[in-house]
């Protein structure tokens, strides 16, 4: 292979990576209704698998090119005056990470879904939507300008809606889909305003142009709300919606109504990480706006602890994982907020591995239990579904941060960066650590309630069986990734290079060589983190293994159980009044009264005019005679007007007769 003229086959046709799932979606959607499941499976897996293969090839070419950042404009989409938003795709180190995660984890989950959804109606529809989601997500991560990114952003929101409401005949599922879409839209409003502000400030929305120009700007001072700060805050508002942070997180627990593969792919591994990706991509803007970064860090940290507390007492296995996702996303934003963008992306990657693993295992458990999701009706499953148990256990260890699993390295990097931050770093660290303890507690609670102790279900109604190979193989692959995924950063522990951070350094530009003092601090903090996780494990062990009795819910427990009544609060303060407004003002007054009224009014008016004018046709000759005379007067007036007009008209027109 020649060294300088590399075979840039895929890179020149980078659009093939998103296009393949789109084709798969279209074929399945349009033709799949009549096909047997295996054809649909073939198309879906084929397109996603090929896309993954192309992504691998693109990455290989990228490396062969010496990791030169690649950008190509494929066609002009919007040209308006000086503004150009084209279909431009780019590939740099950050994109490499995202593309591999999306296509790789996506492909594995597709395989899993063929087993999970095998007996469901609407099989073709599911895969059509899932492939469509892959298309939009890939557009999002490959985009080289904000506008195309926003296309992907909106598209994944749409697919999320379609997939959450997949069981659309179930009212709660349909409502959950709507809730997700609407709450996302609120965030998108902020995102769009941010985009407008960036356009106004920089005249373009290309990443290249915007970031290059922004780098030359003076950073805003802390507490100063300059253009960059406001733009970053608005972009972050979009990220809170998409990535389920306070206050726009409420859709994610409800989104568990969707099938479990959807929860795994969209609401754990990929879509919800889009917000983190945007913040990381715009790191140039954020580093010039310290107020915005502080806000990001605080929101991330607050969300982490908030969601963790709710997860402590949830009975539904998927809801625990949902709150866990929100909490872990909070960690990622905390990382970005303190400037450790690389650590945030690292955690994004490892999180996608072990969170997908956890969700897929939960799906396996649910499948084994015939649809049961309440953990209080499970128990003692360890011996019955061994593979699932082991995989779930791997995932739990990974998320809680025990070495040498993936979560240890990534979470540790975040907490270390938080500790070192100038803006209330120690407080952020402390809260993050507390959230880690909670994480460990609720995850092990989940494991022991589900798999440990005695069974709390009726064996005659539920036949517990292990899942088929199509489901267990992806589980095992994810388990492996959860184990080794963090080893990129492992040498850093022993004073070696942190491969992952070095890899991302060209993008984020802040690979500082660790001094020995910070290095020993880092080691200390890692040990503290592991101890914290162990604390959570021990408490959960004491409380939930063995025979467990479900108590009544009172006081603080009740508040946590009801998710701090946030949904009820939103309903009362925002949703309720808006619905009232829509129904009574916009519908009754504006739509029915004004719009329908004016259209009807025109009809009524015409009718009324006709009704009135009708009276001239009275059949009475004398009235007709009067009308004739009136007409005659009009004609006389027109003819004799120069003679009749009053004197001042004559004077005004200069005395002309």
């Amino acid at each position: 292979m020649p060294t300088h003229e590399h075979l840039r086959l895929i890179l020149e046709y980078l659009w093939i990576i998103p296009l393949l799932p789109l084709l798969g979606s279209a074929v399945n959607g349009l033709l799949g209704a009549k096909w047997p499941n295996k054809f649909v499976t073939g198309v879906a897996l084929g397109s996603t698998g090929l896309s993954f293969a192309c992504a691998l090839e693109a990455v290989r070419e990228f490396f062969a090119d010496g990791q030169a950042s690649f950008r190509k404009e494929f066609f002009d989409w919007i040209i308006a005056g000086n503004f150009r938003a084209g279909f431009d795709l780019q590939l740099d180190q950050l994109t490499v990470v995202m593309v591999l995660v999306v296509t790789g984890v996506g492909f594995l989950i597709h395989i899993y879904a063929t087993g999970y959804m095998a007996h469901e109606g609407g099989y073709y529809r599911f895969f059509s939507y899932l492939n469509l989601f892959m298309f939009f997500m890939l557009i999002l991560v490959l985009a080289a300008n904000f506008v195309l990114l926003f296309v992907g952003w909106e598209g994944v929101g749409l697919c999320s809606y379609l997939l959450i409401g997949f069981y659309f005949l179930k009212k709660s599922a349909a409502d959950a889909g709507k809730k997700a879409f609407i709450v996302n839209r609120i965030g998108d409003f902020g995102f769009m305003l941010g985009m407008f502000l960036l356009f106004r400030a920089f005249g373009s929305l290309d990443f290249q142009t915007v970031f290059a120009k922004a780098a030359t700007w003076q950073p805003d001072a802390m507490g100063q709300f300059g253009t960059l700060t406001i733009a970053c805050l608005l972009l972050f508002m979009g990220a809170t919606g998409k990535s389920a942070q306070l206050p726009l997180y409420v859709w994610l627990p409800d989104a568990m109504e969707g099938p479990t593969p959807v929860s795994a792919l969209i609401h754990a591994a990929t879509m919800v990480t889009a917000g983190v990706y945007v913040v990381a991509r715009s790191h140039v803007l954020f580093t010039h706006a310290p107020t915005a970064m502080y806000v990001v860090a605080i929101v991330g940290c607050a969300t982490a602890i908030f969601a963790a507390t709710i997860g402590l007492v949830q009975p539904d296995i998927k809801k625990v994982l949902a709150y866990s996702t929100i909490s872990q996303l909070g960690y990622m934003f905390l990382a970005c907020g303190v400037g450790a963008f690389g650590a945030g992306i690292f955690h994004l990657m490892t999180h996608s591995f072990f969170k997908a693993l956890l969700f897929l295992s939960a799906g396996s458990v649910i499948h084994a239990m015939g649809g049961e999701q309440d953990m209080w009706h499970m128990g003692g499953l360890a011996s019955k579904i061994k593979v699932t148990f082991v995989c779930m256990f791997f995932g739990t260890i990974a998320i809680t941060g025990f070495a040498p699993f993936a979560g240890f390295f990534s979470k540790d990097a975040i907490l270390f960066a938080a500790y070192q931050s100038e803006n209330s770093g120690k407080t952020l660290y402390g809260i993050g650590l507390l959230a880690a303890i909670f994480t460990s507690f609720y995850m092990f609670r989940l494991v022991w309630l589900t798999f440990g102790g005695e069974k709390r279900y009726d064996e005659h109604h539920v036949h517990v069986h292990e899942s088929p190979g199509s489901m267990t193989v992806p589980l095992m692959i994810h388990a492996l990734l959860s184990l080794v995924g963090g080893w990129f950063a492992a040498p850093a522990l022993g004073n070696g290079p942190n491969y992952f951070a070095d890899f991302l350094a060209p993008v984020f530009g802040n690979a500082e060589a660790p001094s020995s003092q910070t290095h020993s601090l880092e080691l200390t903090l890692s040990i503290v983190a592991v101890l914290a996780a162990a604390l959570g494990l021990i408490v959960a062990w004491r409380m939930y293994s063995g025979k467990v009795v479900r108590g009544t819910s009172t006081g603080l427990h009740k508040i946590l159980y009801n998710k701090y009544y946030v949904d009820e609060l939103y309903q009362a303060t925002i949703v309720g009044p808006l619905v009232w407004l829509s129904r009574n003002i916009f519908w009754k007054v504006v739509d029915v009264g004004m719009i329908d009224g004016s259209v009807d009014g025109i009809a009524h008016g015409t009718e009324a005019v006709g009704d009135t004018v009708r009276h001239t046709q009275s059949g009475n000759v004398r009235s007709y005679a009067v009308w004739v005379i009136i007409g005659a007067i009009v004609i006389l007036a027109i003819i004799f007007w120069p003679l009749w007009r009053p004197a001042f008209f004559v004077a005004m027109s200069g005395g002309v007769r």
Binding site: S618, N620, R622, S623, A625, V626, I629, I630, A632, I633, L636, A637, F640, L643, W644
Partner: protein
Amino acid sequence: MTAPLVIFFVLAALAVFGAVSLILQRHPIHSALSLIVVMVALAGLYLLMGAEFVAAVQIIVYGGAIMVLFIFVIMLLNAGLEERTNFSRLATYAGIPLALAVSGLIAAAIVRSGGHLPAPAPSGALTSTKTLSMLLFTEFVYPFELTSFLILVAILGAIVLAQREN
């Protein structure tokens, strides 16, 4: 007060009186006779102005043929006193104001136009029968032929209308 002016006023008063009588009479035969009075008065005015041929035609054709026709029809139909129905409110209220408006407007136009027309002079040479017939058969021959056609159509129409139903 010259003689022509006096004669004018007398004839004018007669014409107006006849017209008012036409309106106020309740039996159509009285209205017809009032109209004859008007026509005779107008013929007199034509003579005063010097249009002798027109005056003669007015008496012979209008008074002698058309009005006679009217009277025949009235007597044929045995028209009685006029019924006092009043189905049209519009006509009742708007009739007189409109009439006043029309005549007032015309009169205003006449008065405001300055009135620099010479008075009609009773010189027979201008409007002798010979002059009129010269015009009629040279300049106005086309309308003249058309009117003969018109009369033909009228005759046919009258015959058709008067047929008894078969």
